[in-house]
Symmetry: C2
Subunit: 185 residues, 2 copies
């Protein structure tokens, strides 16, 4: 493993309602010093949930993204609340955004939106054995839903309104996980 740079100084340089920008002064193992900026994380992480039906379809939601000022399809996602486990957060987000709970929830992998610039991590959770159950979320409008067969993932990714990197990574991870589970031997 490489030696991490020494953090010579660390300070907050901006704070808004949602974002906090930190400045890090670093000295790398070779002596080079650099100043980096990054976004601090809210601290509890987040989940991306991939709900799979008995027929092998994923359930996607269409949500307005203020970042791109457009609607796009992806898997249900959300922040982990204080005191919640990642699986509890996944089951809550599923009920808020999709109208299902899940009896089977499995943690697959922790990924990062942007390791260079953001502390925020996202746990990819597989959800199966779904049952109807709704919780009130904080969405400004009801989300559209659709089911898409995992066997036709490339057709889904060819769409111009499927653009979220985390959803794409999560869908592939789930597809590979299920293929491995089903493989003989």
């Amino acid at each position: 493993m490489p030696v991490k740079p020494d953090v010579l100084k660390r300070q907050s340089v901006a704070r808004t309602r949602l974002f906090q920008v930190e400045e890090l002064e670093l000295r790398f193992a070779n002596g080079v010093e650099r100043t980096y900026e990054r976004l601090a994380s809210s601290g509890y992480g987040a989940v991306a949930v991939v709900p799979v039906t008995p027929e092998g379809s994923v359930i996607l939601v269409q949500e307005y993204g203020a970042g791109i000022n457009d609607y796009q399809w992806g898997v249900p996602k959300g922040a982990i609340d204080p005191g919640e486990s990642n699986l509890e957060a996944a089951n809550r987000e599923l009920q808020e955004e999709v109208g299902y709970g899940a009896r089977g929830l499995e943690y697959l992998k922790t990924i990062h939106i942007s390791p260079s610039y953001m502390a925020r991590s996202i746990d990819v959770i597989y959800a199966e054995d779904l049952y109807e159950s709704s919780l009130e979320g904080d969405e400004p409008e009801p989300l559209l839903k659709m089911e898409w067969p995992l066997s036709k993932l490339s057709d889904l990714l060819a769409r111009g309104d499927v653009v979220d990197g985390i959803s794409i990574a999560a869908l592939f991870l789930i597809r590979d996980y299920l293929l491995t589970k089903q493989a003989p031997g």
Copy 2:
């Protein structure tokens, strides 16, 4: 297609060396009004380049990520400079980070780091027919490199130091693209 919310007001609420936070006041089609925050983009987008050897291995780089304060393996990435095309940026980043140029460069898909909170887009570029060529980059230290067979992608993703969502999405996209290209008929 759903009707986009009206943007009632848009203003910058914080600006640092790297980040600009914008506040959007929105009115959704159902009349609900909400205030959102998002990070504005530098404007030229970015590329994630997946260089593939004749043996079917991808070349990965190990880079320090200030966001997670750790080293991690991923595909070469970088911002598109003013006046550059996405393929030109891909070939430059490849020479800066990996020490190769590519005679074959192909655009696959535009994805987003976080459609909800960030305007920033990333073009996934496939690179083949590599040749040795280096350009001076702005990295504080030389990057380690490794080749990894695409046929063993799940072993790669099982590693705790492979966590970048965009790299994971890009690697899967390339693997599927190459499988489709090789498939008979």
